[in-house]
């Protein structure tokens, strides 16, 4: 009995506790990210934003959540019910499982796997399925067009994202996310690889279907895009998934370019602050830029979006891979010696 407890039950309970410790703060952050977005955009447009529910409108996300939770979920009669219900579940689950490999601090990671960055890349590339399934299963023109736009857009921008990740990996010599952060102890990669960081950030905007690349839900043309037929909790799952993805992409940018949990300078007052707080602060900074972009830029036209992805970012990032690899080899900066 004791043996079974030690070797089976306790590890299972322990991992469930760890998962909850990661997931609950993420869901809370998602809820308050929606409030932060409305507040920041309000400030940028010289409005107040939500300020009625609770002090400074702080209970607004709870009210929104309760409203969505209590609403009826309607399945359209022409819809494909199985896939229709599966789609929001897939979106939401994919937005959460990626957090398993994100290092919040030194050693603070649920699964420290060797191929962490590939896992993140794989999970983020799967996000398109939730949207495609939703668009197809809704049996609605608007939803379907939104899903098709989204699929083409996400596949296109993944390519340049992959090449940008390769330039970072060349400088690190490992696919492990903790190793990527540790390699930035001397200098964050955003400085030597600044153009790559910019391309990566713009690609994450496209990957999360955010402004100015939010064509999948372009409300002026497609009503609301792929989620137009969804209501109640199913819609809420899409919403949560989208915002959790935004936080995840900010986390990815932080790990790859902004030094993860490391303080900006390894000096006295700065390195007293624990790593997870630095990590959260950097994510918050990226999220602020996400919102800032939304408040500032008009939406891209679809052909311009495709042109930017395939004719600008792809050649640029491909060129950068060659340049970075060449520089590392020529100056002998390779992190691991070339195998004989």
């Amino acid at each position: 009995m004791v043996e079974a407890w030690n070797s089976w039950i306790w590890p299972t309970v322990w991992i469930v506790i760890k998962i909850l410790v990661i997931v609950v703060p993420i869901l809370l952050s998602v809820a308050y990210l929606t409030l932060a977005e409305r507040k920041v955009i309000g400030a940028m447009q010289l409005r107040k934003g939500p300020n009625i529910v609770g002090p400074f409108g702080l209970f607004q996300p709870l009210a929104d959540g309760a409203k969505l939770f209590l609403k009826e979920m309607i399945i359209p009669s022409g819809a494909n019910p199985g896939v229709f219900i599966l789609a929001p579940c897939v979106t939401f689950a994919l937005a959460l499982i990626a957090w398993a490999v994100i290092p919040f601090g030194e050693g603070l990671v649920l699964a420290d796997i060797n191929v962490g960055i590939l896992y993140l890349f794989a999970v983020s590339s799967l996000g398109v399925y939730g949207i495609l399934m939703a668009g197809w299963a809704s049996n609605s023109r608007y939803a379907f067009l939104g899903a098709l736009r989204s699929a083409a857009q996400m596949v296109s921008y993944e390519v340049s994202m992959g090449f940008v990740i390769i330039t970072v990996l060349l400088c690190v010599g490992s696919l492990n996310l903790s190793a990527i952060v540790e390699a930035q102890r001397g200098m964050w990669f955003v400085f030597p690889l600044f153009p790559m960081a910019v391309i990566f950030f713009i690609s994450t905007l496209a990957e999360t279907n955010r402004h100015p690349f939010d064509l999948p839900e372009a409300e002026a043309e497609l009503v609301a895009g792929y989620n137009v037929e969804y209501s109640g909790m199913a819609f809420a799952l899409f919403f949560l998934g989208e915002y959790a993805n935004m936080i995840l992409m900010s986390g990815m940018t932080t790990v790859l370019f902004l030094g993860g949990w490391l303080p900006p300078l390894d000096i006295e007052p700065l390195n007293w602050i624990p790593g997870p707080i630095w990590f959260a602060a950097k994510i918050a900074f990226c999220l602020f830029i996400f919102i800032w972009v939304r408040a500032t830029f008009p939406r891209y036209r679809y052909d311009q979006l495709m042109r930017l992805g395939w004719k600008v970012f792809l050649p640029l990032s491909l060129f950068a891979v060659a340049v970075v690899a060449g520089a590392l080899l020529a100056f002998g900066w390779l992190p691991t010696p070339v195998a004989g």
Binding site: V83, N114, L118, A122, L126, A339
Partner: protein
Amino acid sequence: MIVEALAFYMFAFIAVAAGVLVISSKNPVHSVLFLILAFFNAAGLFVLMGAEFLAMILVVVYVGAVAVLFMFVVMMLDINFTQMRSGFLQYLPLGALIGLILLAEMVVVAGGWQSISAGAQMAKAVAPIAEGTTNTHALGGLIYTHNVYLFQAAGMILLVAMIGAIVLTHRRRDGVKKQRIADQNARGTDTVETRKVEVGKGI
């Protein structure tokens, strides 16, 4: 040990079941979804064997890119399913024959690899990975250092295939409006005039 075995049988069973459902489900979109499930379980099997790099690449390439394109095409097809189903049993003997031939060939390959002495030596030569290297490093060394010419040849073949696909499908159509980005960017301020309009006056 028993957990590993259970995990293996779970992944293997779901993979095979999903494979059967790919060919038997009535709706082609469901088929693609089951295909994705099969890919996932194959990736799970790779992870169980310790080939985590291959597992992730399988998910990134097949699930993340190839199956998306499948789905893209299948969703837009307007097929009469009952008509498509009608010849299904007719092709069953042929399909079964091809399957049997493939099975026999795989048995011969695997058996030959085990029994022939040269094959056994080759299996020994490639299989072991030095202690302390991840399988990403091992694969990299194998592909880019030891077999770089084969790798380059494969790349060339893919390049030719890609160019061929583009040449075959790209048609020049008349009457399509295109934007010349360079011309657009080269436009000076002389094409636009800004005026300060006073309130209530108009231009």
